[in-house]
Symmetry: C3
């Protein structure tokens, strides 16, 4: 995973499998807990980490761009259980994806489009329509048992299909909008910082924002953009909240400021 | 636990014990973490899952009807640590309940009434009044150590008493009101779907609601009731929020619409 | 850890190490999960508990007084990963602290001042400035790997320094203000109850508050102060919310009411 060269922490010889939850289920309520219970029962001893429980509700596109940015630190064998599923109970198929050695399980409504598009190697399996599952909670009844099975090293259920079915050809390579607002009010975009000239200024709402390396390089109260710890462009205000700037919310477009 | 017949996931031979937290402590703050720390210390290697940390505060009745609905998927040996406890520090006794092979630990103020009433077999033990515990956090100081002990297979502390002490005779078999509003704005009731004719319409506030199988069977924006993944009646709006309908909040009564 | 004498729960012979998270990262978003993933990878089999994820944002002083109050129940060998870090990316050093046998890891901006000041024995090591870390997420990239290493029993990285560098000499021994508001609206102060005469009345805003042993000793709706389960002075209202009293929020001063 991430490493810090100078401190030179020895990483354990065996990379332990971790199951990672990536959902819009919300922090509240029983849904994450019910999935965790299945995972602990069916994959004993394997840690379960909730990475996002509060992805923007039903916003598959935002989730699809956040997933590769947050997944790339995880070692091969990691299992991502991903559910943003407005179509639950309908005909949309469930899939298993293997991309660069990591596993992804969830509904195929676009959620894995960018993971698959950016992978060096990707495979895909389509899960059968479940008979015994509830109509409204496939995360618990379908996808969690599959994730547990993969984490245990079991065989992939379902039928191999062309991973091209994962892509959404109309979706761009970068998502030029706010994809998530965090606890501090920082506005995370779906735009990789590597795709933007470091000297560029960004325009969001009526704000023109310079780039900074990090918070402490800016005066208190100043708005800026920076490359966040997951290599995405993020809008922030040092010791303030970017989401209190006018018009900044999930969905707000970000563009390059063209110099006149 | 839940299974999905067609995918035929092999469940592990040994059902692992899981400790399940079921509280109104809130997601924020140290309380759930302090209980988890005790459990990890005193029951090493046993997973702890927070099922609900945000039950409606002090609403024992709502919790009492949500508990059996959310507990029935768990295998025998599971230990539920349940705390909705407005009377903490007073004279109300703590209890251990064994119902259909599952364990429940918490204050006896009605929380286990429906679990006990609906069980094929129920036993109850009353815990002694604790001497060394804080006056305000029996979840950590009294109930968590007992839950850890039960999860480890230890003997039941306390004195066997008649499980009739758990019931609240005045409480109905179904709770005809909203018991919980989830992250999506869905309004979960304490009413089992099996107790309602599938063709029935429900009346909540001034809304008359038809039944649907699931979200994707309804047009966007339409309100309906359905049997949720825990077999309870739930009020929902496809791609919308039921809690933005007038008057829908925890406590709002639900009734059968009588055809005129 | 905490024990309850009369129930006499046998504590396991081996005190298991637990890693405890103590941050202002918020419950939402990926930050706690990303740290947990590192910890599970690099310290396999060691439980990770989130004690606080919602400390008042950037309020190092409040966190510094809450830390010893919430840490004292944990056994020697416990590892606290503590991040309230408005200066992330700047020149402030990271430290490892050993105080009365417990480990603490995080940025040295005052967070460990009270832990060190109150300890019978304290040692301190300064971490090198990291080269490979992100500029904005040292919790994940610097401090979590160190916490994992300490939990595994590894040697302390960094250079031993005088623990006097941890203190903030201008800070008082007790924090006479609200340091945290919990889910129920209770206002936790940074003031140890043992420092206040049990017969004292406290003044907060325009309220004069008597002491009570616990909630159920007061009539519904009555405001009072009490010694909470972590030995801090807390302002509460029986079956009500202290944070709906006028002017009570994080930062509100509390004083002794002087009898006239």
């Amino acid at each position: 995973m991430w490493s810090c060269d100078r401190i030179r922490i020895p990483v354990c010889g065996h990379n332990r499998v971790v199951i990672i939850l990536f959902t819009d289920f919300g922090l509240a309520g029983p849904y994450t807990g019910q999935m965790q219970a299945i995972l602990h029962q069916q994959a004993p001893g394997i840690p379960v980490v909730s990475l996002f429980a509060d992805l923007p509700a039903f916003d598959i596109e935002a989730a699809a761009y956040l997933l590769p940015a947050h997944g790339k630190g995880f070692p091969p064998g990691s299992v991502f259980l991903c559910v943003v599923d407005p179509g639950v109970g309908g005909a949309r198929p469930g899939v298993v994806v293997q991309a660069d050695g990591r596993w992804y399980v969830g509904p195929n409504e676009g959620l894995f489009a960018l993971v698959a598009r950016r992978a060096h190697q990707a495979s895909c399996w389509q899960l059968p329509q479940p008979d015994g599952a509830s109509a409204s909670f496939h995360g618990r009844d379908v996808f969690a048992p599959v994730a547990a099975r993969l984490a245990r090293g079991g065989s992939v259920p379902g039928e191999a299909v062309d991973p091209a079915c994962l892509d959404r050809p109309g979706w761009p390579d970068e998502l030029w909008r706010v994809a998530y607002i965090d606890h501090y009010g920082n506005a995370m975009t779906g735009l990789r910082a590597g795709a933007v000239d470091p000297g560029a200024q960004l325009l969001i709402g009526e704000q023109v924002l310079p780039r900074a390396r990090t918070f402490s390089d800016m005066p208190a109260g100043a708005a800026f953009w920076y490359e966040n710890a997951n290599a995405l462009v993020e809008i922030a205000v040092n010791r303030g909240r970017a989401d209190s700037l006018p018009g900044i919310r999930v969905g707000t477009p970000v563009t390059l400021q063209v110099r006149s």
